[in-house]
Symmetry: C2
DNA sequence: ACTTGCAATGTTATATCATCACATAGAAAT
DNA sequence: ATTTCTATGTGATGATATAACATTGCAAGT
């Protein structure tokens, strides 16, 4: 049984960071990076996991778990939520994908080779998402954590606002 | 996710930001701040909204919408989800509360008087949340947004890890 | 070969979170 | 007083996520 899809932006071209890019080989390189990571860390990029990553990379946008599940089912995998959630958890844990908490959705990492603090710009109008290369950790944050005795394991930043496309639209 | 409820007249130190503070009057000051804000902005701190804020302030932790709804119902307000979600939306919009996306939960702002980038430390073990005073905007983030033509409206940062209490526990 | 162990996948059922659509009630503006 | 807009209330539904448990496939150890 197919569930309704919630995502608003179905028809965007190949935007990464709201700019166009050569999408053709970026899938292959990302998959290769995932394979390398798995080999180096003693975990397995199994068929479902690989397929889930391919789906995310194909779209280059944030996808809900059930949207991914639909495609996994179409590809012959299981049809129950846990199938998608487990694959996604694996990808997130291993740095191939991120969860956009604001959207309850998942997106392939745009630069999985380098270690980074995931940071995103999320359009409130069309739900498009761009991952920002943000190598700068917030120093004040780190200090506060240290003072509080909190051991940070991962930090994510999410900015919401209007993407260039929707800014243009709002002007007309 | 289950945590002890903190009562208003508790003698022991109340933790905010994993540190102790004087909880007794911080509710009143926060409510006063909300009232001032509403007066200055032509919006109304109606009974439900005020009660929802009081609930959040009482607890000083992240509460799910349905948890808040329960208490609103107990206080004589409506019993349907929209009642809580609408009140919470108002509080978030007007800076009296934040949504912790990671937890799908809400928390009273710990320093609602000053404009700030909401930043939180979230314990993966016990789900406790501390709001960090992070007046430092991530510069790289801002630059990236500018380059991309993205108009940031709000940024939030969420760090997950282990709170001091759970670090202690894990050592035993 | 066999069994024991473990990780991964699958399924059913259920829990949790969130919004829609529409009716009614109050406040504010004319 | 009438209109208008905001706010509250309700029932119904949608969307997201996990629990619990059976099954499979593979690898070590015997
Ligand atoms: Zn990334
Ligand atoms: Zn947009
Ligand atoms: Zn705050
Ligand atoms: Zn903790």
């Amino acid at each position: 049984m197919t569930r309704a899809i919630q995502t608003k932006n179905e028809k965007l071209p190949d935007p990464v960071g709201f700019a166009t890019h050569d999408h053709n080989d970026c899938i292959d390189t990302a998959i290769a990076a995932a394979e390398t990571h798995c080999a180096n860390n003693g975990v397995r990029l199994t068929p479902v996991r690989r397929k889930a990553l391919e789906i995310l990379l194909q779209e280059h946008r944030a996808l809900g778990a059930y949207e991914i599940l639909d495609r996994l089912r179409d590809a012959g995998f299981g049809s129950q939520p846990a199938v998608a959630y487990r694959a996604l958890e694996f990808l997130v844990t291993n740095g191939s994908a991120h969860k956009i908490e604001r959207l309850n959705a998942f997106i392939a990492c745009a630069h999985s080779k380098v270690s980074h603090v995931p940071a995103f710009m999320i359009c409130t109008e069309c739900d498009s998402v761009a991952e920002v290369q943000s190598n700068l950790t917030n120093k004040a944050f780190g200090n506060a954590a240290h003072v509080a005795g909190f051991r940070i394991e991962q930090t994510t930043m999410e900015a919401v606002g209007l993407c260039p496309v929707c800014i243009d639209k709002s002007k007309t």
